[in-house]
Amino acid sequence: MAGREWNPWRRLLALPNESRAKTVIIAFLVSAVCAALVSSATVVLRPIQTANRAAEEQARIAALVQGIPGMATLLEQSGGTLSTVVINLETGRAATAVTPANLEATLRDQTNWTELDAAQDLAGLGQRPDFAQVFLLRENDRVSLVLLPISGQGYGGRIDAIIALHGDMNTIAGIAVTQHAETPGLGGRIQEASWQGTFPGTALRDENGDMRFEMARGPASTAYEVDGITGATRTGRGVTQMVRFWLGPDGYGPLLDAIQRREF
């Protein structure tokens, strides 16, 4: 028989390979070992990845602040630091019990989220946290700059950004996109500095207090518009709605009012 001429112990081992029991056992063992490998890698490396993401966000905030004209000198004058405050979005005041340290734990509790109905939910979020961490820069007891984290539904997924407003709470000082899933080369261009550079100086509301901000379809033509991106209509709508929602009455509106009344 031809089989005899083969390496005998290979033949020996090849034989039981066909058995159903061995097939199942091998499949099980391989999956178990691989599962253990993957899980341990994920668990061991997670703290480093989380730290990375946090560092990245800090870097973007720093870049955003640096990118605003005159900010670097302003920062130096005020001692060089932004103060971090957790605010209650409902009241627009600093939260009493929630600190930046326990914000994440607080937001894990569903009771600290507010459901949005369809009319309110411009940004397509479904629900909104009751607390948010914002960054303030004070100058002579007045707030001269706020950095507000915002998020909304884009075309490919959620867009996270940080928007900076000047002390009048109506002029955009800059924007930094911290995370997005838009199409590379089209909507994905929202992460480019050239597009983000069209934000500074744009006004949010007109004299009557109506929200006018919009991402234009082409180049910006009014004081309330920022440049559009060709081929990214839904991303543009997402950005418009995101800014309108978060800087409107259901978002940071109460906070902005409080700052304008100099209660902050």
Binding site: N7, E18, T23, A27, S31, N52
Partner: protein, 221 residues
């Protein structure tokens, strides 16, 4: 026992003569996608070489006990697990590069090159030669990626590893970047030129034409 070729030739043959990308045209999807800059090409090369070598070693260790009926699934599970581990490591220690590579690290799993080597070589050879072969193939793939990545970055941006090499015309130099080089089609052109160069060097690799232009036939049916 089949005659075992020397480790040296196992290692060096896939570099150019039996290069997996230019000869077998394997794994070109990622070769096209990640070569816009040299850094991403290098990272992808290292990741793929590590995954390939480890996968070949593991498959080779248990090669006599992999039931034939489920061998492909076993191989893919091993490769996929290694890829996830590598991806996690990249995300932890090279976050910047990991973002640039986006989904392509995950796609190493489906890179035909990896499955091709484990299926064709590691399954029939002891661990050491299998790993040497895998490492050689990984290097061959890396070589192509680095050449294409280097050329695309140099011609597309005038940079190498992010450092300006050719002075740009915008900045008072003489070099006008070829934006085409940053788009996917240019990788096809460069890869085609490379294949042509290698096959001019080794005419034995030139394939017979699969299809000759029709000599005026009678109408079919």
């Amino acid at each position: 026992m089949p005659q075992v070729p020397s480790y040296w030739s196992t290692l060096t043959t896939p570099l150019i003569r039996q290069n997996p990308v230019t000869l077998q045209i394997l794994g070109i999807c990622s070769a096209l996608a990640v070569t816009t800059s040299l850094v991403t090409a290098l990272t992808m090369s290292v990741s793929l070489t590590v995954v390939l070598t480890l996968a070949a070693g593991l498959v080779s260790v248990i090669r006599r006990h992999i039931p034939d009926t489920i061998r492909l699934i076993v191989q893919i599970v091993i490769v996929a697990s290694l890829v996830i581990v590598i991806d996690q490591i990249l995300q932890a220690y090279f976050a910047e590069i990991s973002r640039a590579l986006s989904v392509y690290v995950g796609l190493i799993t489906t890179n035909c090159l990896v499955l091709g080597r484990t299926e064709a070589y590691a399954r029939h050879h002891p661990p050491l030669p299998a790993m040497v072969d895998a490492f050689g193939n990984g290097l061959g793939y890396s070589l192509i990626l680095i050449v294409i990545g280097g050329l695309r970055e140099l011609l597309g941006k005038g940079q190498l590893l992010g450092a300006q090499v050719l002075p740009l015309a915008d900045a008072g130099g003489w070099f006008t970047p070829l934006s085409l080089m940053l788009l996917a089609p240019s990788a096809f052109f460069l890869l085609g030129l490379l294949v042509w160069a290698v096959r001019s060097l080794y005419p034995a690799q030139i394939e017979q034409p699969e299809y000759a232009p029709a000599q005026l036939k009678s109408p079919a049916e």
